[in-house]
Symmetry: C2
Subunit: 352 residues, 2 copies
């Protein structure tokens, strides 16, 4: 099948129409669509529109509530809790980051915990949202258990991604965005789908034996990144997104792909820190330029976190965002059910 | 030489006397001593009294100012900057954590950045300080560059430790405390001193070739933990402790051991988050018990972060804190110069 390219606007418009047809209020649908399509824009396709069919399937089973209005509770001048009430995680994530920004504007630092949410995509999107407002940002999310404790055997936590972002002079936000497992869940899924063998040292089976066969990957347990370090970071995400928000903990969070026994109940946690309270933004930018200059001058072949994302965004803005033919095929089925028109391709990019 | 054991009180009293004799105001000296000795109490001896001779050497060269009064600047209701004015990092760390607690008490979350400080010991100490006040805590510190960027060659950042702590039902604070390099600087130093070969994959030489020979370790460059992940976390520590505080960045931070050309200028960053704004502490404790119960039930041989520290503290409280004979020998030299009496040994623990 052929990969076609679409403008960001057309692709987001299409996703918005699908969500509105399913009952999402239009302002929420626009944000959900923008977050999903932004992942494709920056080249993280496995968190972009490819996820829409799985999300729609959960909407149709009543496990995601597109009509839900998140409930906000002020806890203190600098902290807030949001109950997402089983709406889409993309909107809950955007709202969480927006509220963290607003709190930080008042008090210098704001933290927002979100419970009863869903898969929220990539944390980088919320980092960029915060950075454009002059905020250093943190975005965390719990997910369904796939990862063992350090020296443990069965899964106890999700890949619990941790993201940290910094406003940069050229608006190309520095975006650290990592799975606290050795591999991201989406990387494992991609290897399993394409039959690529997995690197050694990242997965074990129920007896603790190593797994590299992609056919066994979906049933295998991930190991935390760098042993005790990744386990500690995963716990940090679980405590802030799960324990502290009052939401689901560990196995109380369900997979959006494999478990239809109830809503997914992911939790998120956002922190925004207002740079301008510390120094004028130009001074901060100068100091970041100094640090990145030292790194560039130290030899090797380094890249700043997020650099490859911004290169992809530049290319996809110019040429259109590529969507693989099989993905568009699945989206076409949903679209025709709902009477939604497919986006007009901007160009045919190649053959899958 | 023989290892003797001392009570926590006697050892801290001795360190206090040494610091007071060198010009540290007594209230500051007590805190500096408590922080140093706490490391020994929890079994992290390479961050305990073993460091006192190196610190005293810098005091005598005028590179650490024991008389300096830290300067506090309120930035916003939730944030504060401290200029440690080249005093000891242990006091600056304690003060930073204390101010973060005070801010979080008012606004729910507080952040404190510290510049112009020194080596602050182990972040775990400040996590426990925050946890005893009902705070989830973060403690970060920059240090002199020893670590390359991911895919880089020369050192650009310190081992930049990251610490995260959670109040626990039994007051045994959950303490995630890690170097963002693959190995801690103190681990490398210990291997170099004892001639133990280093594990593969953690150090490179100036050409990028791997180093495992302990004799070459002190001149080798560390790699970040888990490649891009550790590099991203190290950057997070550098941005918050160095760039944002207005203090030293990258090579502007000097080694306390090797560089006598100026003050060390480490930076620190503390965040405290008041759990009681989210739920009653008993509910939070119940939820933490649930999470740790899931981890314990999942098989393998898991330990919670900090668990081995608390076991060491129990043993050392009972039997006394062990100080190796050669360490006490070095301390004896300083003590006699200053007219300070050595602590009375509680027991002789064995032969080194």
């Amino acid at each position: 099948m052929t990969t076609a390219r679409y403008t960001q606007k057309d692709l987001a418009g299409f996703v918005t129409d699908v969500l509105v047809a399913l009952g999402n209020p239009v302002e929420m649908a626009r944000i959900n669509a923008d977050v999903l399509v932004w992942s494709d824009l920056v080249g993280r396709h496995n968190h972009g529109v490819i996820r829409l069919p799985a999300l729609v399937a959960r909407v149709r089973k009543g496990l995601i509530d597109l009509g839900a209005e998140p409930e906000l509770t002020a806890l203190s001048p600098g902290t807030e809790r949001i109950d997402a009430r089983h709406g889409l995680g993309q909107y809950a994530g955007h709202l969480g980051a927006a509220r963290a920004i607003a709190l930080a504007r008042d008090t210098g630092i704001g933290a927002v915990g979100v419970c009863n949410s869903n898969y929220y995509g990539i944390g980088a999107c919320y980092l960029h949202q915060m950075a454009l407002e002059g905020m250093i940002g943190v975005a965390l999310s719990s997910s369904a258990p796939k990862v063992a404790a350090h020296r443990g055997r069965d899964p106890v936590m999700g890949t619990n991604p941790l993201a940290f972002g910094v406003p940069m002079p050229d608006e190309r936000t520095l975006m650290v965005d990592m799975s606290t497992a050795g591999l991201a869940g989406s990387t494992v899924r991609e290897h399993a789908e394409k039959g690529w063998p997995l690197p050694e040292g990242f997965l074990i089976d129920k007896t603790g034996a190593p797994v590299t066969d992609p056919a066994l990957a979906s049933k295998a347990t991930l190991l935390p990144a760098a042993g005790a370090k990744g386990f500690g970071l995963g716990l940090m995400v679980e405590v802030l997104s799960g324990v502290l928000t009052g939401g689901a903990i560990s196995h109380q969070v369900l997979s959006i792909y494999n478990d239809f026994s109830g809503p997914a109940r992911s939790g998120h946690f956002f922190v925004a820190l207002d740079v301008r309270r510390w120094m004028p933004m130009e001074d901060f930018h100068d100091r970041m330029r100094f640090l990145t200059g030292v790194i560039a001058a130290a030899g090797g072949d380094t890249r700043l976190p997020g650099e490859s994302r911004w290169r992809a965004a530049e290319e996809n803005t110019r040429a259109g965002i590529p969507v693989a033919g099989d993905v568009m095929e699945r989206l076409r089925d949903h679209a025709s059910d709902l009477g939604v028109a497919l986006p007009p391709p901007r160009a045919v990019a190649g053959v899958d």
